[in-house]
């Protein structure tokens, strides 16, 4: 490569540097487009869900959608009430969170404040590995291992139930919640702990009264992530909770969630453009709004409790 000479102002050199400038700008533009793709994806999701839902709401009034207590869009006597799906989603998520949040938090406190170095070094990657297991595998556990096990304790439990789906979902989310909570607690500066120990606090007191309040924003974020995972989880409930939409508040019953309804319709063969086809977009929009609420909540919580060191 010839060494460029700065004093050379011949037209050739100028053209070369202009070409070089142009190439830089084109590359920058391409990189920007790749980054902007994420914004495009978001808009595509919102546009698609809303436009298909609008067609749906021409057939069904919003009031019926929100208040009707039956969801039977594929029957002759069609009802389009989202409540049964929302109740299924809420119950299965609640069962999951009752398991995942306490267990996840206790494990995180132990790993962050009590565990010896080697235990933590082994447990952390282990938790990450468990977080990568496909959800369909957990569905297998729920239907073929946990349900029969629960049936020996609760003989009335049907073969499909929100309870076993929720339990396994909870077990599935434990690694997420504990890993993220532990990260949040580890990020609390050491001198806060040292200060607490110096005035004679035990590890437990330090964990509860110093570390947890200081990392509240991160812990809240971990919880919110756990909730939105439970709400959006599909395969475990699709496999283990049955797929009939029931307006139930009892976890011992089979029911459908928003996600399982979408799966159920997709497994069948609905013609593109029919009302049945549009129902899954209306259900998807509901799901997106639900998760959006949790994400915004998490964002606000983080802002409200952010500690600055």
């Amino acid at each position: 490569m010839p060494i460029p000479n700065n004093t050379d102002h011949s037209p050739g050199s100028l053209r070369r540097s202009y070409k070089r400038y142009l190439k830089e700008r084109v590359i920058e533009l391409l990189l920007f487009l790749a980054a902007f793709l994420s914004v495009f994806i978001t808009f595509a999701i919102i546009y698609l869900l809303i436009s298909e839902s609008l067609v749906f709401f021409e057939h069904v009034s919003v009031w019926d959608f929100l208040t009707d207590t039956q969801w039977t869009p594929l029957f002759d006597d069609a009802h389009y009430g989202i409540l049964p799906l929302v109740s299924g989603t809420a119950i299965s998520s609640l069962v999951a969170l009752v398991i995942a949040l306490p267990f996840g938090t206790i494990i995180a406190i132990y790993l962050s404040e009590f565990a010896p170095f080697t235990v933590r070094e082994i447990a952390k990657p282990f938790l990450e590995l468990l977080g990568g297991i496909p959800t369909v595998v957990y569905g297998y556990f729920a239907l073929l291992f946990v349900t029969p096990l629960l049936q020996t304790i609760l003989p009335d439990l049907p073969g499909f139930s929100l309870l076993s789906a929720g339990l396994v979902m909870g077990i599935m989310i434990i690694p997420y919640v504990s890993s993220m909570t532990e990260d949040a607690m580890r990020s609390v500066p050491m001198h806060l702990r040292e200060g607490s120990y110096a005035i004679g606090a035990t590890r437990f007191q330090t964990a509860i009264k110093v570390v947890m309040p200081a990392s509240l924003s991160g812990i809240a974020a971990a919880y919110i992530l756990g909730i939105s995972r439970a709400v959006g989880e599909t395969m475990v409930v699709a496999i283990a909770a049955g797929m009939q939409p029931n307006l139930v508040w009892n976890p011992m019953e089979p029911a459908a969630t928003i996600t399982t309804y979408i799966v159920q319709v997709s497994l069948g063969d609905l013609p593109h453009g029919s009302v049945g086809y549009q129902t899954i977009f209306a259900a998807g929009l509901t799901l997106l709004l639900l998760t959006l609420v949790f994400n915004i909540l998490g964002h606000l919580l983080r802002k409200r409790y952010r500690e600055v060191y």
Binding site: F32, A35, L129, V136, Y140, Q205, T259, L287
Partner: protein
């Protein structure tokens, strides 16, 4: 007021200390117990799957098509489908994700658009995977007319893991000291020369870690693939990408119908016969081993990276 070392006071202090120490011990026991319960639960779950599925893991299981007879059924079309879809996913997600990460770390000015993009990437990571399935159903399958093909599925999963690749790229790039860039600029390199000759090669291992984790996630994703309408019973293979006649490569396979490992497993789980459920356990074992190996590799790579590189 009594002096500090007065017996009454001392006793009270001792009670308080004993009380708090008891709570401390209790918390320790609770932590260990919770961890043990969690570990035992996972061992029991996977153990039951190994017991059910292990006898089915024969060579024929990998080389047979799904069948009505459970003993003859296998996962050939499923693992071929998964492999091809992963090729499409990687081919789409890696360049786009790395480019986006490079832009956000190296090029992006501090302005509103950059902030919007950053918030967006975080939000996309929290969108349930089935929503991506709906997006793909509307966009890829119907509006772009790609149909229920390997290409549609691969692109869907690429969108899904894009945030993972972007975040990993950014973290890898951020860990490279500014002095490397300053050195390149001092020698007259342009921004792109600096990025392509220095920043990207040095962060390659970190990016690779993220890509592997993303692909491991994509392998196990079931819901979005069901939504775009994967078939569950495929007893044929897509045409081979390498042909013996000119032009030797064919992209016919991109437009073929397909099935993947998790869908094959889902299909077997939902059947009432116990023999099919053993097949499901076997397919689940293969799936778990695949994701564990990939995630394990990623964790190992990251560990090596942290240990070896000292700038």
């Amino acid at each position: 007021m009594l002096p500090m070392n007065h017996p009454d006071n001392l006793n009270e202090i001792r009670t308080i200390i004993a009380y708090h120490k008891r709570w401390d011990l209790l918390a320790l026991v609770a932590g260990v117990t919770a961890l043990m319960i969690a570990i035992l639960t996972f061992i029991a779950l996977f153990g039951s799957m190994v017991i059910d599925g292990m006898p089915r893991l024969t060579w024929e299981f990998f080389t047979s098509f799904p069948s009505r007879k459970p003993e003859a059924a296998g996962i050939l079309s499923a693992w071929v489908g998964t492999t091809l879809i992963m090729l499409v996913t990687a081919a789409a997600a890696v360049p786009l994700g790395v480019a986006a990460g490079v832009y956000l770390e190296e090029y992006a000015p501090k302005n509103l658009i950059t902030e919007i993009i950053e918030i967006n990437v975080t939000n996309l990571a929290g969108v349930p995977s089935i929503i991506y399935g709906l997006l793909a159903l509307g966009l890829f399958v119907y509006q772009l007319g790609l149909g229920q093909s390997i290409l549609s599925a691969g692109l869907t999963l690429a969108l899904l893991i894009l945030p993972i690749v972007i975040v990993a790229t950014r973290e890898a790039i951020r860990s490279i000291p500014v002095s490397i860039r300053e050195g390149a600029y001092a020698l007259g390199a342009t921004k792109w020369q600096t990025v392509s000759d220095h920043v990207l090669p040095y962060s390659a291992a970190g990016i690779l870690t993220g890509v592997i984790i993303g692909l491991a996630r994509a392998i196990g994703e079931t819901a979005p693939i069901i939504t775009i309408g994967a078939l569950t019973f495929i007893a044929f293979l897509p045409p081979s990408p390498i042909q013996d006649q000119f032009p030797f490569v064919s992209f016919q396979w991109l437009m073929e119908p397909f099935t993947v490992m998790p869908i094959q497993m889902f299909n077997w789980i939902s059947r009432p016969q116990e023999a099919f459920q053993h097949n499901a356990a076997a397919a689940g074992l293969v799936l778990v081993v695949m994701t564990l190996l990939m995630n394990g590799l990623a964790i190992y790579l990251r560990y090596r990276l942290r240990k070896n590189i000292k700038w």
